[in-house]
Symmetry: C2
Subunit: 197 residues, 2 copies
DNA sequence: TTTGCTTGCTAACGAGCGTTAGCAAGCATA
DNA sequence: TATGCTTGCTAACGCTCGTTAGCAAGCAAA
């Protein structure tokens, strides 16, 4: 009995609110009653829209994984671009996803461990594949003489680490726009990678 | 009725085991019964040694904070060392703490949010102070012409981010020793900061 | 031998958890 | 008017949670 038509589907509202709570309190410490209250509902009512608490987490984690892959694919689609440029675009794409929905990103980064099997293993496989993509890109950059690093795997981990800390401090109303942040991060991180820094 | 004298106090054993569980499952998802089982005890027996579940978390978080501050103080004690050298030592000190007890480090980095007030606010103040120390060190390095970065605060966040990802992938029996990791991280991160990279 | 500390047990408490069953109101479509 | 989908309620289920009370065994010091 909705008084006004919901802007998005109720399910999407639940996902959004749950994501914010999961980020703030953690998945395990967020109760369905808390989530329902935040939405002005009773706990039982949630189950008209979702199957389980974990289903929400699953959707958030795998949904964001898709976004990250899409961003990387777009950044590396044009093979005529120098590898360093592709890496810069991949960094900016990654940051764009992180800033577009930093709550979901934080959940993606930290709460996946509460997925039960086999989802957990599937998720880790996706994450490994994503990291491998960066590693291979850096490797190609080293081979092409555009980048320098003692260890591509090490460099990839460090690079993603720097980026992934972003949701911990990013505020949408901060003085830096997402694009400025992305650009600055790319500059600073590539400064340690580019041959002629 | 201990058959053999405990190597360390029972309390310390509880802390260590709890830390490992908190890291693996998260604070909220770790039950006292699980912790007790891991130690070969019943849940109620834990309370002969500790006051509460949160007390363990408190000890771990604030204990590690002390270690980080001690490392930083040692790294920056000698004012005759160039600032870049002090920063390198601070990085290595930070990595040393992270690798010496990566489980406790992971808890320190991610589970502090389950501290209740006022401990939570106190903890965040400590963390802010630690970040500020790095920021000021970088600032001094920029002022002295030893480092270059568009924004010291930004550089400090990025630097700590790279380091703090370490507990997520560090394995004590990996091919790199803690010192090698520390050195390599310092190289790569300073490579983007040093004037003559 | 007495005292007291450390260590551990069993049993239970009140509370909160995720989830389900059954029902019903409003709405769009046929 | 009839059908069925969306949305929401109340009440309750079985279960697990952190924690406490009361008791007792082993040991070290007095």
């Amino acid at each position: 009995m909705p008084a006004t038509a919901p802007l998005r589907s109720r399910k999407a509202q639940i996902d959004r609110t749950a994501t914010a709570l999961f980020r703030a309190r953690g998945f395990a410490a967020t109760s369905m009653r808390e989530l329902a209250t935040e939405l002005g509902l009773e706990a039982g009512s949630l189950y008209s829209h979702i199957k389980s608490k974990e289903e929400i987490l699953h959707r958030v984690c795998f949904g964001l994984a898709e976004e990250f892959f899409a961003g990387f694919a777009a950044a590396t689609a044009d093979a005529s671009v120098p590898v360093a440029g592709q890496l810069r675009q991949a960094i900016e794409g990654h940051v764009r996803v992180l800033t577009r929905d930093s709550a979901a990103s934080a959940v993606f980064l930290h709460e996946w461990r509460h997925l039960s099997e086999p989802a957990r293993t599937e998720f880790l496989a996706l994450r490994d594949r994503y990291e491998a993509s960066f590693r291979e890109l850096i490797q190609r950059g080293i081979a092409a003489g555009e980048l320098h690093a003692p260890d591509a795997a090490f460099a990839a981990l460090t690079l993603l680490a720097s980026l992934n800390w972003l949701p911990a401090w990013y505020k949408p109303d901060g003085k830096l726009t997402p694009d400025e942040i992305a650009h600055r991060l790319a500059e600073q991180l590539l400064g340690g990678l580019l041959v002629n820094a």
